[in-house]
């Protein structure tokens, strides 16, 4: 892991800021247009979840370099209420905020690897990785 940058999520506009910075970051790594859109959309979903459910948190981007391939890791961290039933939020159509319930299961499909750790009253950390093809 060579390079990292983080964006704080405190207000609604930060969702747009995070996805613009993330898209730039992805372009520099060498992702094509479609994957840039996938990555930016995933960031948008993760940032909105932080804003809606935790209030504040941050999104970090890391370049991952291995011998034969390169990728981006998006890390979304908050100190919010945590998620009681992770299997529930990974179901398509499940939402407690009147949304489409497409966010987290969507992020999982948009990215290659997806990992979520959440502790009630402590917070949530999500890591999502996409590899350059």
């Amino acid at each position: 892991m060579e390079f990292q940058s983080c964006v704080n999520i405190n207000k609604e506009w930060d969702i747009v800021g995070a996805r613009q910075i993330g898209r730039d970051f992805a372009r520099k790594i060498g992702f094509g247009t479609v994957d840039q859109a996938r990555i930016a959309t995933a960031i948008s979903e993760l940032a909105r979840n932080i804003y809606l459910y935790a209030g504040t948190g941050k999104i970090c981007f890391e370049t991952i370099e291995e011998i034969d391939h390169k990728g981006i890791c998006i890390i979304a961290i908050d100190n919010g209420p945590g998620i009681a039933e992770i299997s529930k939020v990974m179901e398509d159509g499940y939402s407690t905020s009147g949304g489409l319930g497409a966010g987290l299961p969507g992020v999982k499909r948009l990215m290659d690897d997806f990992d979520i750790v959440s502790e009630q009253e402590k917070g949530t950390e999500i890591r999502a990785v996409k590899w350059v093809r």
Binding site: E12, W13, I15, V16, R19, Q20, R23, T33, V34, Q36, A37, R38, A40, T41, S44, E45, R48, D92, G99, L100, A102, G103, P105, G106, R109, L110
Partner: protein, 118 residues
């Protein structure tokens, strides 16, 4: 940021050219409905050619505005959805099945005319 809504005969034309944040999207929804109400427009084209990200929230706002306009008696067609946007929407599991779409503004106006049988 307000999105301009242009009137052309019985139609309203909108080209979204900004990176939509949630507040602008909600504002646009309200502006469009009130413009339909005031102008008596029967058809609306929302062109998304310059939009390079539609996440689940924006998709919901767009889907809702189509249904809301329909309730008021105006048909909405979404046009110019980019290939990358179409792919990410399907990854998100969002199919926008009841939403009329067309390739570009021109096709969108043709579709409106057909739907409204003018």
């Amino acid at each position: 940021m307000r999105i301009p809504i242009l009137k052309l005969h019985n139609y309203l034309l909108i080209s979204i050219q900004i990176d939509l944040d949630d507040q602008s999207a909600i504002q646009f929804q309200e502006d469009l409905l009130s413009k339909i109400h005031k102008s008596g427009a029967t058809g609306v084209v929302i062109d998304l050619t310059s939009v390079d990200i539609i996440d689940s929230f924006i998709a919901k706002v767009l889907g809702d505005v189509v249904t809301m306009s329909d309730l008021m008696g105006a048909k909405v067609v979404l046009t110019g959805i980019q290939p990358a946007v179409a792919m990410t929407l399907i990854d998100l599991g969002i199919h926008l099945q009841d939403v009329p779409t067309a390739l570009d503004l021109e096709q969108g106006l043709i579709k409106l005319r057909q739907e409204l049988e003018e």
